[in-house]
Amino acid sequence: MRRDDLDRVQAVRAAGRPVAIATWLAGGRQVVWEPAMAGLDTAVVAEIERAVDDDVSRTVTVGGEEIFLHVFSPPLRLIVVGAVHIAQPLARMAVLAGYGVTLVDPRRSFADAQRFPDVTVSTDWPDDALETLAPDRRTAVVTLTHDPKIDDPALAVALRSPAFYIGALGSRRTHANRLQRLGALGFDAGAMARIHGPVGLDIGALSPAEIALSIMAQITQVRRLAKAACEAA
């Protein structure tokens, strides 16, 4: 690989855009692909676009030639609403798992950036913050405050977005009340079924770190096992 190609790939990745490297295994020819790129065989472009859309690197055969398509997708995103205790281990675990993490809490005394290294902190109101962040299908949203004033507006924006995961901390009873309030806002049962509540896999988690682990495990499960179902929705 040429160093200028590598530098270009890194620059595009740092800008948060998708990029792919196509390598012809016989001969070693290499092309760095970006969306809407011109001058490349259309059959190869079609294969690259499919791989990028699937978010999977793979070796394909085009015109009898083997080509390895190395896909670099932008990092997955996690939006955490509520700078509560659980948010600290959750943010750290998510960063380790490769997520870009944004923490939203309008209560400035909570959202102290020093408590959250490697995390973007927003003190906007959750509906404004989430509208700006625009969750896409590579985004997970988790609310942690229990406070309807803060959690509900965030969940409403998340439900109108294609976020691949939505989770809300709270007991069964808290969650039932929450669903009633969201129902009053016009969300039907099918839409609200996207919310994982009580949040996280049931592993008997007690401490903040354990609860964060159960949430991160559930996000991973949804991402890896139910990806096809989410993307079809």
């Binding site: 040429r2 990745r13 295994l25 070796t59 390895f68 190395h70 990092p75």
Partner: protein
């Protein structure tokens, strides 16, 4: 979003390390998993960067074939040619570099020029 649109690339980013090594003037080769069959520890796209002394970052397996891949990477640094390697239980070197999990892995090795 505070620091503009820049996305933080993880510290364990193998390509970033490879680029940094090259900037320092080190010889560098990249090994990339381009295919897997059966169970295999690292998915397609996993990478290993090797410098001219044999130091490496990243992984292409759970440690079963790294030694052999590093040898081939040093050879690629030496002759400048890319190569495609295949490892699996059917490999005649299985005793030396076989995958305990019983899968097969294809690895592309190239020099970073």
């Amino acid at each position: 979003m505070g620091e503009g649109k820049l996305t933080r690339i993880p510290d364990d980013d193998v390509l970033g390390r490879a680029a940094a090594w090259r900037r320092e003037g080190r010889d560098v080769a990249l090994a990339t998993v381009i295919g897997t069959w059966g169970s295999s520890p690292r998915p397609v796209g996993s990478q290993l960067a090797v410098d001219g002394t044999g130091a490496f970052v990243g992984s292409v397996s759970g440690g079963c074939i790294e030694g052999a891949v590093v040898r081939e990477a040093l050879a690629a640094i030496g002759d400048g040619r890319q190569r495609t390697l295949e490892f699996g239980v059917s490999n005649e070197q299985a005793w030396e570099v076989g995958l305990a999990c019983g899968g097969t892995v294809r690895v592309y090795v190239e020099r970073l020029t």
